[in-house]
């Protein structure tokens, strides 16, 4: 009978004490295989979330990949009783915050107080944004700190308090950003209707 590969044994040592592991070492390999599978299943939603943060498809994919690899190195911390998506959103968001600090780019996610940014950003034509449809073009007009919170609350089911924790802002800020996001979209929709008439 062949043994698991060396790198698989390495993780066994790390994760062998997992409560749910089966048969020690084998169980740890199992855990990683499970986590990989669940991460892959989660990719569409992780990419969507990452896009609201990065506002760029290539950046988002890079961020998602990094977040998943980070999670895999922490497979021993994976608690199956907790939703994997929330854990991943947190890792993704934290990585992005580090990344923009590194880049020194003053965008989104609490680096620039949202109140100092304009409600709508201009989308230049030809930019590598989602921009495949009218809807995504419309969403691309929202700045990151508004669209990411809107996604979390309106779509991913975060309460205001949970979103405040995820984005590291006060609950009141979540409340105002959600409202401003919807108002900005409503205004843009009204403009579009006006143009059409």
């Amino acid at each position: 009978m062949l043994l698991p590969r060396e790198n698989e044994i390495a993780v066994c040592n790390k994760a062998a004490n997992l409560a749910r592991s089966k048969q020690g070492c084998v169980g740890a390999v199992w855990v990683v295989a499970d986590l990989k599978r669940e991460l892959i299943a989660l990719l569409p939603r992780l990419r969507r979330f990452a896009r609201t943060l990065t506002r760029s498809v290539p950046d988002a994919d890079e961020l998602v990949q990094e977040a998943c690899l980070r999670a895999l190195t922490r497979a021993d911390q994976w608690d199956r009783d907790q939703p994997l998506d929330r854990w991943m959103f947190r890792i993704t968001r934290n990585l992005w915050v580090s990344e923009i600090r590194k880049r020194g780019v003053r965008i989104g996610a609490g680096v620039v107080p949202a109140d100092e940014t304009s409600e709508l950003v201009t989308v230049e034509t030809g930019e590598a944004h989602v921009a495949a449809s009218d809807l995504s073009r419309l969403m691309a007009t929202l700045p990151s700190e508004l669209s990411s919170i809107l996604l979390a609350v309106s779509v991913e089911g975060y309460s205001y308090a949970e979103a405040a924790e995820l984005f590291d802002v006060p609950v009141g800020t979540v409340m105002s950003r959600i409202h401003r996001a919807r108002k900005a979209l409503a205004a843009r929709l009204a403009d579009t209707e006006g143009e059409a008439q």
Partner: protein, 259 residues
């Protein structure tokens, strides 16, 4: 209106206290402008949900799924090791493993558009893409067709795989046939027959048509699974079970005499 207007989104989200919500309701009852504002917010939220849902249809790049699937475990972030390149048949065997692990949910992402990617993608990347094409929209069950339709399974999988599929009786090995499913690996259709033992552990028998069947039996371990493979007349076979099963070779030999 302003003092209420600012709370309309929180009102929509059920984030206001009862007292505050009651105030908004009272204000809405007498203020048509506020009602119009609320409706505009609801429409905007609906549009946002639609737009966000649309993003999910965007196919996941194979490279991304591959990077995660192929990440060396334990040292992922620091290791320069590239994703492993599995050979065709080995990829097929791995595909069986992945499905035996616990259903097919893991690769049910993306859309049929990804088959176009698959045609050009090498090795096991193509498998992942093919899963999308084959399984998108199918429900998550241990088997696609249950054991009560064994005749149908044989006919259907034989026609689909392009090699004769017979369901071996492995009762003597303590295995109960549960049913079968069709999957695609290494760009080819693969028949998978699922068995369970008395303890509920799953053993899968997979076969893929080939012009060059392998000689003799070979065993190997992938992750938490052992597999024993062999070649038949027009197909390669593999039996997959949990690592540590001492009876896998016996199962493979029993199956080989019947398929």
């Amino acid at each position: 209106m302003t003092q209420y207007e600012e709370k309309l989104s929180a009102f929509l989200d059920g984030e206001l206290s009862e007292v505050e919500a009651a105030e908004i309701e009272a204000a809405l009852a007498v203020d048509p402008d506020l009602v119009a504002e609320l409706e505009a917010l609801m429409v905007a939220d609906g549009v946002a949900k639609e737009a966000f849902a649309e993003v999910l249809d965007d196919p996941v790049p194979m490279e991304l799924a591959a990077a995660i699937q192929g990440a060396p475990v334990g040292t992922a972030a620091n290791s320069p090791e590239a994703p492993r390149g599995y050979s065709g048949w080995f990829a097929a065997a791995l595909a069986c493993v992945m499905l035996a692990v616990g259903g097919i949910g893991g690769f049910l992402v993306g859309s049929p558009q990804e088959t176009q990617v698959a045609a050009a993608a090498p090795g096991w990347l193509a498998d992942i893409a093919d899963y999308h094409a084959v399984y998108a929209g199918q429900k998550r069950h241990l088997v696609e067709v249950g054991a009560d339709e064994s005749d149908h399974i044989e006919t259907w999988l034989t026609a689909s795989v392009g090699a004769t599929v017979r369901i071996p009786d492995l009762a003597a090995n303590g295995l109960t046939f549960e049913g079968g499913r069709l999957l695609v690996a290494a760009g080819k259709p693969v028949a998978q027959l699922m068995y369970t033992d008395a303890g509920g552990a799953v053993v899968a028998l997979c076969l893929i048509a080939t012009d060059a069947p392998r000689d003799g039996f070979a065993d190997r371990t992938i992750g938490a699974f052992d597999m024993v493979s062999w070649g038949g007349r027009d197909a390669n076979f593999v039996v997959v079970g949990d690592t540590g099963r001492s009876d896998l070779t016996a199962i493979a030999e029993a199956a080989a005499t019947q398929v």
